[in-house]
Amino acid sequence: MLAAAGRRVGGRLLAAIPAVFGVVVLTFLVMRVLPGDPAVYFAGGPSAGQAEIDALRAEMGLDRPVPVQLMYYLRDVATGDLGRSLTTGQPVMTDIRQRLPASLELTFTALLLALVAAIPLGILAALRPGSAVDHVVRFLCTMGVCMPTFVTGLLLIYVFYYLLGWSPDPTGRIDIFASTPPEITGFLLLDFALTGDWDGWRAAFTQLILPAATMALFVLAPLARMTRASMLAVLGGDFIRTARAMGLPGWRIIVVYALRNALLPVLTIAGIVFSTMLGANVLVEKVFSWPGVASYALDALQASDYAPVQGFVLLMASIFVVVNLVIDLLYGLADPRAVAE
């Protein structure tokens, strides 16, 4: 059983290599095609002398033909070197390692919030299709989807920071005057909890809740709608009728019989949603000055700073592979039929 699971994981990871390789090559080529010359940018703009620009270009290796550059890049990636960011002056690996926990913490919290809200809403809507509850849920979902995240974010800031004053200054992961916990995992909430600093934990949490809620609202719709559709399909199934015919208690039918079956497709959607959120939360990171990887990649893109963008895309591709794998394994645990295949 375990050996079979291990073989499956290995097989999936091996199968993902060509896809990741393709993504790396494609991003590399696209970056080279895009307008903008990093040498000009970093030489200090158009006023810099041509000799200076040429020297910088030679130093960055941009004077060599593109295929040769690609070869060097691939060799570096294979040895774990993603290059150096010209904007921050640090290796891209270091930058990402510093910023990824911020993005992951935000995304995980947002996904958790979204699931906690979406699943009960979806269930309620499915139990009474066409009722007032169903319409309210549909309205909420539509609002969440059709409002751009930066508008939702600004609205939330306006209400909770400006009008009510409940939340702290919406910039960054933690108040600049507060002390940061020793870095253990990079996840502030975890680090504070591990060191037992509950005041710090609360500070980080209040800082996190607004951006997380903004993102959660955005992905509420797919999750709630999927829960509703999947619950409706399962509730119409023969085995639910059997459970009712056997006189099982109502909540047991809904939770144990219907929901567990209905969650299988929701799991798939949650995986997709997670991967999209990680890349798409750049707007939220910008609005809340969140020091995450997405805003880092966007800054680099504007500066024609190749290495961070390429590193970011590679990171996203790898995360996508891992998330899909995890979803697959969870699916195997949740659905005994999936293992048989």
Binding site: D238, A245, M246, G247, G250
Partner: protein
């Protein structure tokens, strides 16, 4: 008045649909005494399942009881509330459903599902409930019950799933069990085992049963009293011997006549239909007539290693009808698909009119000249018609592709000829499959196959999904076509009675091998193989001439 356990009086049920209110039950009455067995028979749309769901209070949202009374054990439960019904269901009255695999929770172990029922009605601990569940699985004769209790429905056969369902329904010793088509979709031998088990257990424990079925033979064999329903009404109600021996109502008479029995003939199934044309094909062909089909040493191994067909050989003469009989997994459908060249054989020869067609790969066979000569009619007429094609398009498709008919006038003529041939009214040609009845779809499927004038028609359970009265009409049609056109049939079926009527010769298959082969009447009268005898014995039947004294 004897104590009735369940009494249904003048029950009316209506469904709200988009096209207004539809009355599904129009005042039906029946009663079941304690420990008695009542059969409710009827064809699709008769309302027999709605009646059972109404008794259980399981009608879906659109349906509601609009009149009449349901009394269980002296208590009026017509409009009982949720809590009251929940206490009764599973504990005092319970239900067994059709399609047992879908009726069980796919991601919960079967033992736990039975334990769920027990714990819903009795104060048992988890461990006690599990022990009881294992005991129940043993009672329904599931071998190695303690280990199987952790199995999931997809790991069990259909027959085993239905045993689990029976164990669930009996878990709390209810006084009444409603079994709604409990064996539809199961093999005959499995059906017999399941029904014997169900009847035995209910009798032992003094439970009453309502058996809902479309199979008159099944009702006759297991019930004390049978109620016939048609379009939401009760037609008549009587003990099976009287009902099937001397039916009073015209509808019952037609239904009884349409049911294949060991002695029925195709003409006898539909007494009102015009007589069949005389058989044009002489019984003995002149010597030297080449064989139509010769199959030698046919084998099929699927990629997962199962040997579905193992060394099967047979021959067919022109205009002959040969039956392939077997239970699920016998390889009969695989053979039919290989002969029709839809899939490739692993080994063996298929020779059609002296030419080897087995060597032509299945994916290229549509270009072979023999494609129009060998045609197939599929089991599920609804599923095998393109939902976006009208009946006309479906029949015209092979004419366009295989016969090369392009101009619209001659195409229309050919399609109409085919439709006339199968008795499909021309007005229906513009309809889409969902606008046609089951019998009409079957006719479209047959018309599509015969439109290109094939010599060999492979019929893969063409009547399995049809009501008996529709089946009778389709069988009549097939026999008529065979006699008129001199078609040869390779008829694949699990129903020995049907095969016997339509085929001169039959082959009994089991696990991919030929068990017995011979003249239909002979095989039926004195089967040589033990397995054939079992199959014949397992067919539920009634013998009106014997029962009615």
């Amino acid at each position: 008045m004897t104590a009735k356990l369940l009494e249904v009086e003048d029950l009316r049920v209506a469904f709200d649909t988009r096209r207004g209110t539809v009355e599904a039950l129009r005042g039906i009455s029946f009663a079941v005494p304690a420990g008695g067995v009542l059969g409710i028979v009827g064809e699709s749309g008769s309302g027999k399942s709605v009646a059972s769901l109404a008794v259980m209070g399981l009608l879906d949202r659109a349906g509601s009881v609009t009149g009449g009374r349901i009394r269980f054990d002296g208590q009026d439960i017509t409009h009982a509330g949720g809590a009251e019904l929940r206490r009764l269901r599973g504990a005092a009255l319970s239900m067994i459903f059709q399609n047992p695999r879908a009726a069980l929770n796919p991601i919960r172990g079967i033992g736990r599902q039975i334990a769920d029922v027990l714990r819903a009605h009795r104060p048992l601990t988890r461990a006690q409930a599990r022990d009881k569940a294992v005991a129940l699985l043993e009672a329904v004769r599931i071998r190695d019950a303690a280990r199987r209790a952790d199995a999931f429905p997809h790991e069990l056969s259909g027959g085993m799933c239905q045993r689990v369902m029976i164990a669930m329904a009996m878990a709390c010793e209810p006084r009444l069990i409603i079994a709604d088509e409990p064996t539809t979709g199961l093999d005959v031998t499995t059906q017999k085992a399941v029904m014997d088990l169900l009847a035995g257990l209910t009798r032992e424990r003094g439970m009453a049963m309502v058996l809902i079925t479309h199979d008159l033979g099944l009702a006759a064999q297991y019930c004390d009293e049978v109620t016939v329903m048609e379009q939401g009404r009760v037609v008549e109600s009587a003990p099976p011997g009287r009902l099937f021996g001397a039916p009073r109502e015209a509808y019952t008479r037609r239904l009884v006549a349409a049911c294949p029995t060991p002695s029925s003939t195709i003409a006898g199934l539909t007494p009102d239909a015009p007589p069949l044309p005389a058989a044009p094909v002489p019984a003995t062909l002149p010597p030297g007539t080449p064989l139509l089909l010769e199959v030698q040493g046919l084998k099929k191994r699927f990629p997962d290693g199962t040997l579905a067909v193992d060394d099967v050989s047979f021959t067919m003469r022109p205009g002959e009808s040969l039956g392939l009989v077997g239970e699920s997994g016998s390889g009969k459908s695989t053979i039919s698909r290989m002969v029709t060249r839809l899939i490739d054989a692993s080994e063996g020869e298929i020779i059609f009119e002296g030419e080897s067609i087995g060597a032509i790969p299945a994916r290229d066979f549509h270009r072979a000249p023999q494609r129009s000569q060998v045609q197939i009619v599929f089991q599920d007429a609804g599923e095998s018609l393109n939902p976006r094609f009208s009946a006309f398009d479906s029949i015209a498709d092979p004419l366009r592709r295989l016969a090369g008919l392009r101009d619209s006038a001659s195409l229309r003529r050919a399609v109409e000829d085919a439709a006339d041939g199968v008795g499909l009214p021309r007005a229906l040609l513009d309809r889409y499959p969902h606008q046609l009845s089951g019998g009409q779809r079957a006719r479209v499927g047959i018309a599509r196959a015969i439109s290109v004038q094939p010599r060999l028609l492979v019929l893969d359970e063409p009547t399995a999904a049809l009501d008996v009265s529709v089946q009778a009409v389709v069988l009549q049609l097939l026999e008529k076509l065979r006699r008129e056109k001199g078609l040869a049939y390779l008829f694949v079926s699990h129903d020995l009675n049907v095969v016997r009527m339509l085929c001169d010769r039959l082959i009994v298959l089991r696990q991919g091998r030929i068990v017995e082969e011979g003249d239909s009447a002979r095989v039926f009268r004195s089967p040589a193989a033990e397995y054939t005898a079992q199959l014949i014995a397992a067919i539920p039947h009634f013998r009106p001439e014997v029962v009615e004294a």
